[in-house]
């Protein structure tokens, strides 16, 4: 039989444009295949440091994002009541004039009346700069409701955290433990890493109440009960200490374990013993004297001087306490005693009996030369599952202490930092909030406090910021508390504001706790019929739920239609072996009356006459964001992009402006890597050749070696304040909480009240094929996750007599929802869960009548209160008391079987779509 002709070598595309994905936050490199000037096909960029050619479902579905019917088309002005979605299209000039007039008045009268918060912004170094030039103290992005516990705990403890700051040494590690990692950050690199580990038979342990995704392929699954990860980790620490399986050399050389603590009572009790220059002292084994910890040739002694307790002594005393014995924690953790003991033995075995050595010589900061790099091939990664609890900060800290005791940070086979990290907390900026009319703010908004003197408090002790970040309620809130902005603005607590200005944050839906309450606050009116929150400006590319609550909508482009930079000044995409940054370039014209939000800020900056955005003659300093990316210098020679600097583009890191920089990036595939030499690639905080390289790159001005902080002294300073020492004093109602939560070693505490009425923990997990609310407008992705049942473990399923197709009423102390249920056996017996942000409000996202996202999708957010129950009459946010991280996963519920519903409840009024509904049928080939 003659076979039909098949075209085996069709032309793939007319042109490939290389840019950076934005279908989630991982920022993979993509090859966008173009036909007829349109996007035909997207695949991974093989040369790119993040994804090395692979691409996830979201990334490949970018074709449908740039064709999404939900894309906004024009600036909008509200014509109906807020929250209905009734708008008129207006010109950019009208929109920007209106916003400019409003903001000029605010800046002239009280700059703090502008609250500018930017959601899942990938240009935070730019948006924060704009806010700083405007002069409002009220700026942050979404870190507070994401994973600030992870970032803050990591930076205070070891000068870097997971994901953007560092990653497991996937090439060499023999044992990886994943804690609370849903199928998200960082998406492709973790999958690639797990694939590599599987390929060589290394062991992966998944600690998560839910066995899906990475936890499904883990060689061992530990279905822990939510909120108890810290207890489990401390029990592992107990086991390692009990058996002496800790890396004493590493602890002595590279951590504050040998630091001496001031004893007794008094204002210095528990602080480091320091010399006249303020340097912490250690007992030197060589000279037998007390010397500064970092002196040349010093060999710190963990035993101390016999008079003062060392940090290590205190650590051993703390964690060898019976309360952390496996028998004591097993029940709360839902992990058998034998499993805890066995995991500890496996960690110890791999770290110490299977250690590895790389034949690479290096010199440490005390001048000691090492012939080899010793590695402890156990590694860890963690994400929101452990951080989104009211005890998340201390849990994340505990995990880092475990890593450090095993000597497995910044060593071969362990956890590795990615430049510009490592970088200790003390060389980060401190928060700034001093605000005056017509003036820029006195410095960057966000930072790392080192003691009560760094809090963002007004002279009278009230919060300087609308989100109450850096106050006694959450002193170390390094990413702000975006989730409290609407609630506080509505309550006028700590003060009233005029304008809420949000960028790509779906606060009227999945990005808020108490979603229904937030909608009410956004639409509430005072006695005179005026909105309590007077004015709302929102920028988004798509018709999200939040659009309906804006007075003015500034339509953003999609990620394939604009310039962006993924900057080392911001959230970098570096790899352990090199510093990397990247750009986005427009691969298609928007063809709608929309503008990239960052370009709009450049324009607004000019209209408002903000210092950083106008020339000396008052002209616009940057014609758009691309212009800013190339020409802005944060410090002389340091700009948003590190590659192709200097007039001829030959410099990297530091160097003058290069007019051709963006073209050079585009020619180079959209990214730039400055590789690290082998001799600098491990032991980075202490490795002088790395330190010199980092200075050359402009990460800091002088070599900044430091040691890991097992004991975090700034936390002790807050405790001392709570004990009554010092001039800056907390309010009385927070003293006990500060004493018990700001412990300089992590101690575990229950972050939810035991309440028999609500016996089940309720969680969300992010599906791999969706990124928060964005995926549902994508015709391909919504066929993968179009609805979300509440998954129920077998025990609870039987107890309630559930059957397939059943529905349940889910009640928390805050509210109730009615939703479809499904059985999931691979689930902690005290936990129910669902996929994150699949549920949509009717009328949003260009979706039509009866969309399953609205009828069988739902949010758990309705059950989560943004404030904790009143205690001593005080209004305190449902957040980690140390950092202000939103405690999403402290939710407790009960179930009740109910008759099936037509639609999940609550049902909200349908929004009027500003873009109509998407087409019935999608079937096209580009260019035919």
């Amino acid at each position: 039989m003659k076979e039909p002709y098949v075209e085996l070598s069709p032309e793939v595309s007319e042109e490939v444009r290389q840019t950076t994905c934005y279908m989630c936050a991982c920022r993979c490199g993509i090859d966008v295949h173009m036909k007829d000037g349109k996007v035909a096909y997207i695949e991974g960029n093989r040369s790119h440091p993040v994804n090395k050619g692979v691409l996830c479902a979201k990334g490949s579905a970018g074709v449908m994002q740039v064709n999404s019917p939900s894309r906004l088309r024009s600036p909008l002005r509200r014509v109906g009541e807020r929250g209905r979605g009734e708008f008129e299209e207006i010109s950019w000039e009208e929109a920007l004039s209106e916003v400019t007039d409003r903001l000029l008045k605010i800046r002239r009268e009280a700059p703090e009346r502008l609250a500018f918060f930017t959601g899942r912004d990938q240009s935070q170094s730019f948006t924060s700069y704009w806010a700083q030039e405007f002069g409002t103290p009220n700026y942050a992005a979404h870190g507070g409701f994401c994973s600030v516990n992870m970032a803050t705990a990591g930076i205070y403890t070891m000068g870097g955290a997971f994901w953007e700051f560092g990653q497991p040494d996937f090439e060499r590690t023999k044992y990886l433990m994943l804690f609370g990692v849903a199928e998200d950050h960082d998406s492709n690199p973790i999958k690639m890493g797990l694939g590599k580990m599987k390929g060589r038979g290394a062991k992966v342990v998944g600690v998560n109440p839910v066995r899906t995704g990475y936890n499904a392929i883990a060689d061992e699954w530990i279905g822990i009960t939510p909120g108890s990860d810290g207890l489990f980790i401390m029990s592992l620490i107990y086991e390692l200490l009990r058996s002496g399986k800790v890396d004493t050399d590493y602890l002595s050389c590279y951590t504050n374990a040998p630091f001496l603590l001031e004893g007794g009572d008094g204002e210095r009790s528990g602080l480091f013993l320091r010399d006249g220059d303020g340097k912490p002292l250690v007992m030197d084994r060589v000279s037998g004297k007390l010397v500064a910890f970092d002196g040349k040739g010093v060999r710190p002694d963990l035993r101390g001087d016999g008079k003062h307790e060392t940090v290590f002594g205190k650590l051993v005393e703390t964690y060898l306490s019976d309360c952390y014995a496996p028998e004591k924690v097993s029940e709360r953790c839902g992990v058998p005693v034998e499993t805890i003991c066995r995991i500890a033995s496996e960690l110890a075995h791999v770290a110490f009996e299977e250690s590895i050595e790389l034949p690479i010589a290096w010199t440490d900061f005390r001048g000691e030369h090492h012939e080899v790099m010793l590695g402890r091939p156990v590694s860890f990664h963690a994400m929101r599952g452990i951080s989104a609890h009211g005890n998340g900060f201390q849990t994340c800290r505990a995990l880092h202490i475990l890593q450090i005791l095993l000597g497995s940070v910044e060593v071969p086979g362990g956890f590795r930092f990615k430049p510009p990290y490592p970088k200790p907390a003390e060389i980060h900026p401190k928060p700034h909030s001093d605000c005056h009319v017509n003036c820029p703010l006195d410095g960057p908004h966000l930072g790392f406090v080192m003691g009560p003197e760094d809090l963002a408090l007004k002279i009278d002790g009230r919060a300087a910021r609308i989100d109450k970040a850096f106050t006694w309620e959450n002193p170390l809130s390094s990413h702000g508390l975006m989730h409290m902005v609407i609630s506080n603005a509505y309550a006028g607590d700590p003060y009233k504001i005029d304008t809420l200005f949000f960028y790509m944050a779906n606060m009227a839906w999945n990005s808020s706790m108490d979603t229904g309450g937030v909608m009410e606050k956004l639409t509430a009116k005072d006695d005179e019929g005026n909105y309590v929150i007077p004015y709302i400006v929102y920028s988004d590319a798509y018709a999200s739920e939040m659009v309906a609550y804006a007075d003015i909508v500034l339509p953003d482009t999609t990620y394939l239609e604009r310039h962006d930079c993924i900057s080392l000044l911001d959230r970098p995409i570096s790899e352990p072996d090199g510093a990397a940054d990247a750009i986005r370039g427009p691969v298609v014209d928007a063809g709608r009356d929309v503008r990239g939000f960052q370009s709009v800020l450049c324009d607004l900056g000019h209209r408002l006459g903000l210092g950083g955005f106008v020339t000396e003659d008052g002209e616009a300093k940057y014609k758009d964001y691309a212009d800013y990316i190339v020409h802005h210098e944060r410090k002389p020679g340091i700009g948003p992009l590190s590659g192709y600097r200097g007039e001829d583009g030959s410099l990297s890191g530091r160097g003058g402006v290069n007019e051709d920089q963006l073209d050079r990036y585009k020619e180079g595939g959209g990214f730039f890597v400055s590789p690290i030499e082998a001799g600098s690639s491990f032991y980075k905080p202490w490795n002088m050749s790395y330190q010199d390289w980092a200075v050359g790159m402009g990460f800091y001005e002088k070599p900044s070696p430091y040691v890991f902080q097992l004991y975090v002294e700034p936390l002790r300073k807050f405790q001392l304040a709570a004990e009554g020492y010092g001039e800056i004093q907390p309010p009385d109602h927070l003293r006990d909480s500060l004493k018990s939560r700001m412990t300089p070693f992590p101690e575990w505490y229950e972050s939810t009240d035991e309440d028999d009425d609500y016996p089940l923990h309720a969680l969300t997990q992010r599906p791999m094929a969706m990124y928060h609310s964005w995926g549902s407008q994508n015709a391909w992705l919504r066929q993968i996750h179009g609805m979300n049942p509440l998954y129920v473990p077998l025990r609870v399923w039987r107890e309630h007599g559930f059957e397939e197709g059943d529905w349940a009423k889910v009640t928390s102390r805050h509210g109730e929802i009615t939703v479809p249920v499904a059985l999931h056996r691979g689930l902690n017996g005290h936990t129910v869960w669902t996929w994150n942000a699949i549920g949509k409000r009717r009328g949003a996202w260009g979706l039509g009548e009866g969309s399953p996202e609205s009828t069988k999708g739902f949010l758990l957010n309705h059950l989560i209160d943004d404030l904790l129950p009143l205690k001593d009459g005080e209004r305190v946010s449902n957040s980690d008391p140390v950092t202000g991280q939103a405690a999403w996963f402290d939710l407790k519920v009960r179930l009740e079987k109910v008759s099936p519903r037509k639609s999940s409840e609550p049902v909200f009024e349908e929004l009027k779509s500003p873009v109509g509904v998407g087409p019935k049928v999608v079937s096209f080939k580009v260019g035919r």
Partner: protein
């Protein structure tokens, strides 16, 4: 009734590692993207933004829970596409000759010009690996990216199916399963690769690598107390330092 070739020169196919597949659907969407733009008619989506979206996919991932006799329930992610069977019932059942198996590499294709959309092949396939496109009315199925694997416009390393190129975990492998010495054949031997539903007698070319054992310890010695009588930090530390 359509005849299968008497012999094929190669048995190109996929080896899918169920132990490594994280169920991320990357392969599903890369496949949808490539095959919408390439071989035959576009893969359409009806009611794309409405209440009952139904699109054509050549590859889908299903997730199942498996309960072992002892221990916790396990989740298996199971990607499924045409297995390019040696005895492909979808070919022999085709009334027009549209469904056929290529002699040179064993790939099973649908000649869309000859397809009348009768659906017999989908009915005959025991794996449910074919989907009738709701718009074009022709039968769609995995082509093993026949227009990629020989495509001279692609770099050599990219001449693999779109699903294989994109798979982040490296759970998908492509090659000649008729060649005993190929990497995929070796992988199948080493890992005990299996046929899907061998009892159907279709002799699938694609193979699945089974899950490795789960939830077992490494078998290392238990930890021992460093000092049997706890007598304070100094004594403990001396013992620890002695051991180092």
């Amino acid at each position: 009734m359509t005849l299968l070739p008497e012999k094929v020169d190669k048995k190109l196919g996929l080896v899918i590692d169920l132990d490594t597949c994280v169920g991320c659907h990357a392969c599903v969407v890369a496949c949808k993207g490539w095959n919408t733009e390439n071989y035959g008619s576009a893969l359409s989506d009806k009611d794309a933004y409405g209440g009952d979206p139904v699109g054509t996919f050549l590859n889908r991932v299903h997730s199942y829970e498996v309960e072992p006799p002892l221990g916790a329930s396990q989740t298996v992610h199971f990607p499924k596409s045409c297995l390019h069977c040696e005895d492909a019932p979808c070919v022999t059942v085709c009334p027009t000759g549209a469904s056929y198996k290529r002699e040179e590499d064993g790939i099973v294709l649908v000649n869309e010009d000859a397809c009348i959309g009768c659906g017999l092949c989908a009915w005959a396939c025991p794996y449910g690996a074919r989907e009738l496109d709701g718009v074009s009315g022709v039968m769609k199925k995995c082509t093993l990216c026949v227009d990629r694997i020989y495509n001279e416009n692609l770099a050599e390393e990219d001449r693999v199916p779109a699903c294989v190129r994109t798979c982040p975990a490296g759970a998908r492998h492509f090659g000649d399963l008729g060649d005993e010495e190929s990497d995929v054949s070796k992988l199948v031997r080493e890992r005990g690769g299996m046929d899907l539903m061998p009892e159907m007698g279709t002799k699938p070319v694609n193979k699945y690598l089974p899950l490795r054992s789960r939830d077992e310890g490494l078998g290392v010695p238990a930890l021992e107390e460093v000092a049997s009588e706890p007598t304070g930090f100094m004594r403990w530390l001396d013992k620890v330092l002695e051991k180092v």
